[in-house]
Amino acid sequence: MGMMATFRSIVKRLRGILKPLVISRYLTTKPMTLRFPEESLESVQGYRGRHLLEPEKCIGCGICVSVCPNNAIELVEFMGQRYPQIHLGKCCFCALCAEYCPRNALKMTRLATISIFDRPSAVYGPEELSKLL
């Protein structure tokens, strides 16, 4: 009986070694890795990225200021009228401001690559908000 037991344990060991080799099918398929700067997983239409302000539609009502959970939005003076200024370092990109704006002046774009070296450049005033840099 010892022969059968050792034979069976050898088979068990072999199966344990050979079974993970099923991964070799990844040798033939297209690699999963994207070459970052050239290829990258672009954000989809409707993704909640950086804001875009249309100054002519904005009436300066301040609903976005009150609905923002992080107090990221303030109204600032710009060319005679009050527009929202968004501190992207406080914003959580939840798009409640865009949803509750009565005039649909504030929308979310797909642009999400915002990395900066210093703190002050996280504050987006009305003119930066209205232009897609």
Partner: protein, 370 residues
């Protein structure tokens, strides 16, 4: 304890930190008292991710809270939203429309599969099976892409809101999801051969961290950890909510109650979630996906439980008539996994089994600390 008597008076427990910066501990510090190779006592020190969310929720309105609340468990935001949104609707006495209920169930099941796949990646990283982990990390992108298409957010969807969901599913979402589910179904066989039936994984996981049904219930275990000991308890079956009454599925239970049976429970749940999603995607009812709800909720309190990937997630909310909740208590499933089951299971185990036991319970430290 098996420590021999003459060593008794000179025995000084050596404190081994299973610390916050440990590749397998994920911001939870357990001070392990060790006698040689055997663990004498494990003291949990949580709190590294405690933000005091229950206090913050008292300062925000229900709409702002529905955005804050899916930061509770980082790996599975949909079940937190499902819990919070339903408890607010319970107090307000309204019912989300039919279409919103089935959209919520679809996204909750997608979140469950995503959470289980992330858990597969982390548990195989903790046990050193890197190839399976890399493939599982790569497979998450499919479901995250579906999240992004449907809700606009990758990790935090901020999608459920008291009264329904914030926007409708785009067209073609059903076909994309069905395609993704077929791919995941085939990947399950790959995970089987790479991880679940892997020789080292099985020997390291089976016979480790054993507790029977009675002990598990006394410790407050829920979800796959309790189903691993043979108790058939699943909130989706016991107290059906959202669109779960219309769906039939099997509750996976194992008998041994050791780490490997919990692993198989979760693996079975992925297959069940795929079949649930296939049933839901056949006939999503048409109609409104959101009804208007007044921001103020009447005075009263409500308690709602839903089944998160890790276990029973309960919300207890007290409202005093204003638009802000007076008090919200969140019972995260990982609270009892990490603080009462893990120290119990770690007693008497070997040091090398600590990561295996810890990740067989699938804890989520931000869910424990809130």
């Amino acid at each position: 304890m098996k420590s021999n008597p003459e060593k008794e008076e000179t025995f000084v427990p050596f404190h081994l930190p299973f610390g916050p910066q440990h590749p397998a501990s994920g911001h939870f510090y357990g001070s392990v008292k060790v006698d040689g190779e055997e663990v004498v006592e494990l003291e949990p020190y949580p709190g590294y991710l405690h933000r005091g969310l229950e206090k913050l929720m008292e300062y925000r309105t229900h709409i702002q809270n529905s955005v804050l609340v899916d930061r509770i468990c980082v790996l599975e935001p949909f079940s937190n939203e499902m819990g919070y949104v339903n408890v607010v609707e319970k107090i307000a006495g309204i019912e989300a429309p039919e279409r919103a209920q089935s959209i919520r169930t679809i996204m909750a099941e997608l979140g469950r599969i995503l959470s289980h796949i992330t858990w597969i990646a982390i548990v195989s990283l903790a046990l050193g099976l890197d190839s399976g982990a890399r493939i599982a990390l790569g497979d998450r992108e499919g479901i995250l892409r579906l999240n992004e298409v449907a809700t606009g957010g990758r990790i935090y969807p901020c999608y459920f809101i008291p009264g329904g969901v914030r926007r409708d599913l785009p067209e073609g979402f059903e076909e994309k999801t069905l395609e993704e589910l077929d791919y995941l179904k085939s990947q399950l066989n790959l995970y089987d051969s790479l991880i679940f039936r892997n020789e080292t994984f099985v020997t390291r996981m089976s016979g480790v961290g054993i507790f029977n049904a009675k002990e598990a219930i006394a410790l407050g275990a829920t979800g796959p950890n309790l189903r691993g000991c043979g108790v058939e308890s699943d909130v989706r079956k016991d107290e059906p909510y959202a669109a779960y009454p219309r769906v039939n599925f099997r509750v996976m239970t194992m008998k041994e109650g050791d780490a490997y049976s919990r692993v198989l429970c979760r693996r079975g749940e992925i297959a069940e979630s795929i079949s649930i999603l296939r049933q839901l995607l056949q006939d999503t009812p048409k109609g409104k996906f959101r009804i208007k709800m007044t921001t103020r909720t009447p005075k009263g309190n409500a308690y709602f439980c839903c089944e998160a990937a890790r276990g029973e997630l309960c919300f207890h909310m007290v409202s005093d008539g204003t638009d802000k909740p007076y008090r919200v208590k969140v019972r995260g499933p990982s609270f009892s996994h990490t603080l009462s089951e893990f120290p119990y299971l770690a007693r008497g185990a070997q040091i090398a089994d600590i990561p295996a036991i810890y990740w067989s319970l699938d804890p989520c430290p931000p869910d424990m600390d809130r």
